[in-house]
Amino acid sequence: MRRWMKGCVAALCGLLMAGCWDRVEVNDLAIVIAFSIDKEANGEYRLSVQVPLVSNLGGPTGGGGGTSGDKTYYVDSATGKTLREANSVLQARMSRQLFYAHHRVIVIGEELARDGLSKVLDIVARFPENRLTAYLVLAKGKGITMLQAQPSFERFSGEAMRELIKKETIPVTVKDMAQMLSTPGVDAYLPYVMSVHSHPKGKSKEIQILGVAQFRGDKMVGVFNEEAAGGLRWFRRQFTPFATKVALTDRENVNVQFDKGKAEIKPVIKQGRIQFLINVYASATVIENLTNADLGRAANLTALERKLSMHITETVKKTLAQMRRQRTDTIGLGLVLARKYPREWRSQLRDDWNERLAQVEFHVQTKAEITNIGQTTENITKEDHDE
């Protein structure tokens, strides 16, 4: 009994002396939803954070939070030679602890991207509050403008960007980026966004996806516009459905949605020349038909499928052409080649792979299939043909 008591007292002392040593109440935190990194003209980094003003988020009335206005967030930024230095400056004027564990998006300014972004990504992995699952996006112009945008649907532009990237383009997380940058034979890419006014112009500023930024090493060199970005999608491991317009005749268009798709890359080395045989498979649904063609007829459908195949081939070729022009290997051709011809890759190709891309030949073949023409075969306003 005596010993038991002693043990108890010791345990209690231990607990009391330890105290609540790193306890932080939720209302002492400034939860960072998104942050952006820009490069200033003087070579310093600018760190901008988007912090929700929780008192304006609709808690109970009364008691009284100190913030004014009806904005649900605010954006602040500071510069420094390192990101942590900028963070310290920010923290020095913030009454709440900056808390990074909840950021969902990291916005990279275009200038920084053109200058190379490897260095700034160090903090993202080193600092435990940061998450490797956060999405990286590239902003046209300054990154901070993305944080200042106020989309109508979401409370914060960070949230909007995240949802948008997941659905509408090729999402890239910090982890993906790190892998792409560290793997030879693959070049990185990032979703490319900018903030625009909605039409007709309202109070809100929305986030628009412009395409996919093209990287050589850790430097941005170009942008795949929407069409070329569509060509990129076939080469992703997980296909995300997207829609495109196909011209059936010169004047008449059909809109289709691709549900499934994949691309096979077959590298061939023939007499020192590198060739890639690319086979694209796609299956699509017709979502709008502005032609007079009755898609219920096999002939029309086959024609459409042929047009569709040509269209896909074309976009893929455009993508490849841009890759060749900028000498970037965005779809990881080098990786495929290295697996098929490991000896050649190691001995000759690896070191100047990006330069060699200019001489690489491509043969693209597409097999597109329409699996579903929608609920009607013809425009419903048309009168029935007599049988």
Partner: protein
């Protein structure tokens, strides 16, 4: 063990003439030698003194004091013993043959009409005899009658409601079991309501309770050992078990633990529970209680032992385990799928009731990164104007919830409703609107409250409610690490705990695989063919082996009686196989 002195009592008898006591025969003095010795130990050697204070004796002190042959001495002795007892009646009369007899009983405990009939037989109808043996055998038309040799035995019966008959010249007294009908009717127990199952519950009268039990188990194997505990209350206890099924050592151990109790009074089975449990400091109940006969019968069939206590409807069952505390008797009456699902629900809510407030405190003050962002923002928004840290908020809410519940239990039903409405309004809505507690905290507390009511045993849910508070404090100091430390301590304690020698966590720890069919799931009855082995039962087989008939195995298709001659033959064969 010896008489107590009460100042007024001594004063009143000091005035009585000592010659009065000298009239008592020396037998009394010899018989009460123990008392004299006890008095001597107490430093009061005066022999006259103890006689004056004989009415401060307990029944236990009268053990071995025989019934005197001379009736007058008995009457004197009883009158002294029960001086100032207005409800104790000593009725002196003569039998038809002139032998003096005395009937003693407690007014209100007897069935007056039946006693009158018995006395009528002695006084008027029968010729009378001076030997109690003859009176018992031939003269008294009473079904329950027994002989007492000493005063302890005799008075125990009389004070329990029997009528005592003493006949001049006999050293044995008769006790007639004609107890009054002063008892509550058998009702549905409020504390353990069921949807499906018998509606009867035990009452305060132990005879009724044993009869309810006997009605469930009509077998000579059902043994009901009678014990009397409590110096002043002389509470009747019955130890019920099934001979040949319950572990004999267990029965002996329970008997031993009960019989060593030397207490002045047992008013409720809770006294017994605390006095026989293995670890008195544990918050977990090591003895199960119930007021349902079907539950007791079920426990006896599993090889456990029940302790019925007079004066309370709560029957104790030992040994018990942690898992039994999460089983309701309805589990065995409902279909097994439903019973299993509800059992899982209880396990889930057991964890919720123990951990939710602690987890809320830990996550919102230490591990904000664990929450989904939108949830964190909602919580942050709700907490924005709250002046207290999360742990203080949690303690305020949990304590006021406990207070509300306690108030609701004690108050009469009509007032209780008003209190609960007031509590819901004040603690729930108003506190949130006033910005004293946050809305998520109210949700946490309500979920915890609901969760703690899903535990079918009230005392087990109290244990969990108590442990919630140290866990909350641990969480506020060390976060989730603190909760883990707390859980580890609780688990260690549980693993260490025993109920009458049976490990508290069995059959999970130590593992006995065959008994798992009644822990995590409730297996269909056709598979529960053995009694739980961790209870050390002697005769394990419950159900004929291979009970599951061909019909059940074939999902009924082969058992249906087909049309035509072959149908009956087929059915017969099926039954034979079963």
């Amino acid at each position: 063990m010896f008489c107590h002195y009460y100042a007024p009592a001594r004063d009143s008898y000091a005035a009585a003439p000592s010659a009065y006591f000298a009239g008592l025969s020396s037998i009394i003095r010899i018989a009460c030698q123990r008392l004299v010795n006890a008095m001597a130990h107490n430093g009061t050697p005066n022999k006259e003194e103890w006689l004056k204070t004989i009415n401060t004796c307990s029944l236990t002190d009268l053990e071995g004091v025989p019934v005197f042959a001379a009736l007058q001495e008995n009457v004197l002795f009883l009158k002294r013993l029960f001086s100032d007892c207005s409800d104790f009646v000593i009725r002196e009369f003569k039998m038809k043959n002139g032998v003096p007899v005395v009937a003693v009983f407690v007014d209100g405990l007897i069935d007056t009409r039946a006693v009158n009939q018995a006395l009528e037989a002695l006084m008027i109808l029968e010729s009378g005899d001076d030997d109690v043996e003859v009176i018992e055998e031939a003269l008294l038309p009473v079904s329950q009658i027994s002989k007492a040799k000493d005063y302890k035995e005799f008075l125990q019966a009389v004070l329990s409601g029997d009528t005592g008959i003493m006949v001049d010249g006999n050293t044995q007294a008769l006790t007639l079991g004609m107890r009054g009908p002063e008892k509550r009717s058998v009702d549905e127990p409020e504390g353990e309501a069921v949807v499906r199952g018998p509606r009867e519950g035990f009452i305060e009268n132990i005879r009724t309770n044993t009869s309810l039990l006997r009605r469930k188990l009509k077998t000579p194997r059902l043994k009901m050992k009678s014990l009397v505990i409590g110096r002043e209350t002389n509470t009747n206890l019955v130890l019920a078990y099934l001979e040949g099924i319950a572990d004999r050592e267990l029965v002996e151990e329970v008997t031993r633990r009960i019989s060593v109790i030397e207490s002045d009074g047992i008013l409720e089975s809770g006294y017994i529970e605390e006095l026989i449990q293995d670890n008195i400091y544990s918050p977990f109940p090591q003895v199960q209680y119930t007021e349902r006969p079907d539950r007791v019968a079920g426990a006896l069939l599993e090889g456990r032992v029940a302790i019925l206590v007079d004066g309370t409807p709560m029957v104790l069952i030992v040994p018990t385990t942690f898992w039994i505390m999460l089983q309701a008797n309805e589990d065995y009456y409902e279909r097994f799928q439903m019973a299993t699902l509800i059992r899982w629900l209880r396990y889930l809510f057991l964890l919720i009731s123990l951990l939710t407030p602690a987890a809320y405190v830990a996550i919102t003050t230490f591990h904000q990164q664990m929450l989904p962002t939108t949830l964190l923002l909602s919580i942050a928004a709700a907490r924005e104007s709250i002046p207290f840290p999360a742990i203080v908020e949690a303690l305020i809410m949990e304590i006021s919830f406990e207070a509300l519940r306690e108030a609701g239990v004690r108050l009469p039903k009509t007032v209780g409703q008003a209190v609960s409405i007031l509590g819901a309004l004040v603690v729930g809505q108003a506190a949130v609107e006033a910005g004293i507690v946050s809305a998520p905290m109210v949700i946490v507390v309500s979920i915890t409250g609901i969760a703690s009511f899903t535990v079918p045993h009230f005392n087990a849910s109290i244990a969990l409610r108590m442990l919630r508070f140290p866990l909350m404090i641990a969480a506020s100091i060390l976060g989730i690490y603190g909760i883990l430390v707390g859980i580890l301590l609780i688990m260690g304690h549980l693993a260490n705990l025993r109920s009458l020698g049976v490990p508290y966590l069995s059959p999970i720890a130590p593992m006995s695989v065959g008994d798992l069919k009644d822990v995590l799931i409730r297996a269909p009855w056709s598979y529960m063919n053995k009694r739980p082995s961790f209870l050390g039962v002697q005769d394990a087989r419950r159900l004929r082996a291979g009970h599951t008939s061909q019909q059940q195995r074939d999902a009924g298709s082969s058992g249906t009686v087909r049309q035509g001659g072959s149908g009956t033959g087929d059915g017969g064969r099926t039954r034979g196989e079963g």
